[in-house]
């Protein structure tokens, strides 16, 4: 393989470039990015960066003097992938790049509610974060739509800034998709302790206001006043550009356990990719930082070996969140019906470690302000039943 093009210049794309060079790839390396920025770290956008404790420079992912000997094409989105030898990627400015191998790392796009009222935000990019911060500084009341991690972190920063905060969630329990209803409710208690109002089981009918948002109207007729609204209802994979390419897409680019797509010479990593997870028996799109940082090494081996390399065992998905000075950590994947037990601490103190089990096997671990025990428990996730 003489040339590789990486489409996507965020954590997954940068990690793929590093992995290719680490694994001895000495050919031409091209990195295409839709955003104009060098790779930057997104998790702080809803935490320290939003709170004003980190600057743009602090977000840089590349080390001082790090040189991957790559050709960067930043500020231009990919518009298509054409099969052939070489593979051809067309770009929004009408140009194209050609390569023997392609790494798809185009990430995801925040879901929106539509409309164009001012004061309604999503949070994905550095510009989004700067705009949201300016909005919060001028506001008294924030409504967060969606009780997920980004919404929770923004709620937390907004409380610190003194805003009145309400979180609205359509599901019966908060954080349920990631943590299950029981632990989701436990985490929500932390927010209520800090004066956040939480409304669950309430769908949003519409946002109100003329030109600028002034409220959120719920399906049950309730109306919440708002100066700023954050829509945190998840993200969809940025894969539209692959329409017609032959790359098979479901909820994300469908990949095997090594990151290979349905097209030879093309692998996919990060938020846009749904790798087959043997522990689950299904493809699973993992939108966590750790997956974007670690899986590219496996995908690079797959690409450079032409698919002959045996993939590493998948590490369980891992996420962390910082809320009111508490460190929330979760590893694994929970499904409805898993048994959950608190192994250390207790729910009332909001500091605890909970373990999720399925057929006697540990499938996930949640730690709230328990970093040391979490470090140990995390390593037991997906071990065979009775291994310890």
């Amino acid at each position: 393989m003489k040339s590789v093009a990486i489409v996507g210049a965020s954590l997954a794309g940068l990690s793929a470039a590093r992995a290719l060079r680490d694994q001895g790839f000495g050919g031409r390396l091209m990195i295409v990015g839709a955003e104009p920025h060098r790779p930057y770290d997104r998790p702080p956008l809803s935490k320290e960066f939003l709170a004003g404790q980190m600057t743009t420079a602090d977000l840089a992912l590349e080390g001082d003097g790090e040189d991957l000997d790559a050709e960067w094409r930043l500020g231009v989105a990919a518009t298509g992938l054409e099969q052939g030898r070489p593979l051809r990627i067309t770009l929004a400015d009408g140009s194209a790049v050609e390569a023997d191998g392609v790494v798809i790392a185009t990430g995801s796009v925040a879901r929106t509610l539509g409309g164009d009222l001012a004061g309604v935000h999503t949070l994905r990019t550095i510009e989004d974060a700067a705009a949201l911060r300016a909005g919060l500084d001028a506001a008294r009341r924030l409504v967060v739509i969606g009780a997920g991690f980004i919404g929770a972190e923004v709620a937390c920063v907004a409380r610190t800034l003194g805003l009145d905060v309400t979180i609205v969630e359509a599901a019966p329990a908060p954080f349920a998709r990631a943590l299950g209803p029981e632990m989701g409710t436990a985490l929500a208690g932390l927010h209520e302790d800090h004066g956040v109002r939480l409304i669950c089981g309430a769908a949003v009918r519409t946002l109100t206001g003329e030109g600028r948002v002034d409220g959120v109207l719920l399906e049950d007729g309730r109306r919440l006043d708002a100066d700023v609204v954050l829509v945190g209802i998840g993200a969809r994979p940025a894969v539209d550009w692959l329409d017609g390419s032959g790359v098979q897409v479901g909820d994300g680019v469908l990949c095997d356990t090594g990151g290979a797509t349905s097209v030879p010479g093309v692998v996919a990593v990060g938020d846009c990719a749904a790798w087959f997870d043997p522990a689950l028996g299904a493809h699973l799109r993992v939108e966590h930082w750790t997956g974007a940082a670690r899986r590219p090494a496996t995908a690079a081996r797959t690409l450079l070996s032409g698919g002959a390399a045996v993939p590493d065992a998948l590490a369980p998905p891992y996420l962390w969140s910082d809320q009111y000075g508490m460190r929330v950590q979760f590893a694994g994947h929970t499904l409805p019906g898993d048994e959950v037990s608190v192994e250390e601490g207790d729910l009332a103190s909001r500091r605890f470690l909970a373990v999720y089990r399925r057929e006697g096997r540990t499938v996930a671990v949640l730690g709230i302000d328990q970093p040391r025990s979490f470090t140990r428990w995390r390593r037991r996730v997906n071990e065979p039943a009775g291994a310890r």
Binding site: R18, D41, P44, E48, Q53, M54, T55, D58, L61, G63, D64, W289, T290, A293, R294, W320, R327, Q329, P371, R372, F374, T375, R376, R379
Partner: protein, 115 residues
């Protein structure tokens, strides 16, 4: 020299945080070596004493950066800067740390009390 703990209070494979400014982590490896580094990961605010100790390396509990405890070198990203190391002395069955004179590499948003 700062007294850390009685040697018997820090079994092999364990780590201890000393509440200095900035805090220091002391590690007792499975091989019986003692090392001390700044307790704060150079990438983001996390206690390395809470991390995973393997050989002479500690893995940050938050983002899995790895540091060589002998030199402070980064063995795995996302950390970019080495963690400051300190000298450890055992005298009369007590572990002492001799704090380094060099400036620390603290992550963004974390400051020492004097700075």
């Amino acid at each position: 020299m700062i007294p850390a703990c009685p040697l018997a209070a820090l079994p092999r494979g364990e780590a201890l945080r000393i509440e200095t400014d900035p805090p220091i982590a002391v590690f007792h490896t499975e091989d019986g070596e003692l090392y001390a580094v700044d307790d704060t990961c150079t990438h983001q605010d996390a206690s390395l004493a809470d991390g995973w100790l393997e050989g002479c390396e500690v893995e940050c509990p938050l983002h899995a950066s790895r540091f060589d405890l002998r030199t402070g070198r980064v063995d795995a990203p996302p950390a970019k800067l080495p963690v400051r190391t300190h000298q450890v002395v055992v005298r009369d069955e007590t572990v002492y740390v001799m704090p380094s004179d060099l400036p620390p590499n603290l992550p963004p948003g974390v400051r020492t009390g004097s700075a």
